[in-house]
Amino acid sequence: MKNIEILIVGKHPDIMKTILRLLNNKADWTGTGAFSADEALGLGKSVLFDVVLLGAGLSGVESKQIQDHFTVPVVQHYGGGSGLLYAEVYEALGV
């Protein structure tokens, strides 16, 4: 099965840890974190992400920069590594 690469971009370090733990707990999913739009765009040069999640704390400018750059689904993440996370990824992947 193809590995699903998920990029989460957000500002809160402790919430980022939780989200990455949950993503990486799933078989065939790999979560990578970025704390800014610039970092996200840089990571996009070396990893072919399947989904990008926009976490809390990003400015509108940063969110737009990310949305404009990536051609894969870019979705707003709500809840902060909660019971919504897996459904958000499944929905973005069209499962």
Binding site: I15, A56, G79, Y90, V95
Partner: protein
């Protein structure tokens, strides 16, 4: 013409962690059903029972309006803003998670179950400063009438959230009826039957059934048996 959706109680997702039994009206945790993602801005409706002495350890949230309504027993809350409180049947608790909040919720009793509804609403603004509030409601104010328990306005009845949503609780005797007029155009109402039996637009709803109605200005609830229910008016687009 009004549009409707019916979610029978037994169609909900179920999680059994031993100490926690939870029924999910919409996709949550390990339950994923693409047909059951939300009703407008209403994203989570969990019907939770937590064993005595157990609870949810510290965990984070962001960008979500989180409302808890205890139905039986007491729930002890502690969060990263130094709030420590117990909410019980008759209370309502709200958190605007905004830029991020950590909290834990435990059954306040060592032996008896606590039952509560956990409701999450998408916020209409992102990255707000986190906030917590709770309120004790007078249950007499919902006997045979609707009691507003939540709104978008800090100076209105009940708690408030960052969304154009209004919640009402009702505790009605058999054979009565209640009319509800929606507050905002483009909103819909999700009705959750806590106990009893009612009929709306010809659809009979029993304990723990859910029913959404939208594209209408008002509707009537005919009470078929002594009933308690929660009405959640939310934007269908936000």
């Amino acid at each position: 013409m009004a549009q409707t959706v019916f979610h029978p109680a037994n169609s909900r997702g179920k999680a059994d962690l031993g100490w926690l039994k939870s029924y999910h009206t919409f996709s949550f945790g390990g339950y994923y059903n693409p047909e059951r993602m939300n009703f407008g801005a209403l994203r989570v409706l969990n019907d939770d029972t937590v064993d005595g002495g157990e609870g949810f350890g510290e965990h984070p949230h962001d960008n979500m309006e989180i409302i808890s309504i205890p139905l039986k027993g007491g729930l002890k809350h502690q969060d990263s803003m130094d709030n420590i409180a117990v909410i019980s049947d008759g209370d309502i608790q709200v958190m605007s998670a905004g830029t991020g909040i950590f909290h834990e919720e435990h059954n306040d009793d060592a032996d008896e179950d606590v039952q509560f509804l956990q409701i999450w609403i998408y916020p209409n603004v992102l990255n707000v400063e986190p906030r917590y509030d709770q309120l004790t409601l007078d249950k007499a104010d919902r006997h045979n009438k609707l009691q507003q328990i939540l709104s978008p306005n800090a100076d209105d009845a009940g708690v408030w959230i960052y969304q154009d949503a209004w919640f009402n609780l009702g505790s009605f005797d058999k054979s009565l009826s209640a009319s509800y007029h929606l507050k905002a155009k483009g909103n819909g109402v999700y009705i959750f039957i806590i106990s009893g039996s009612v009929a709306i637009n010809g659809q009979v709803l029993n304990t723990r059934d859910g029913f959404g109605i939208w594209d209408t200005d008002s509707f009537t609830i005919d009470v078929l048996a002594d009933s308690e229910f929660l009405l959640m008016e939310v934007p269908m687009e936000w």
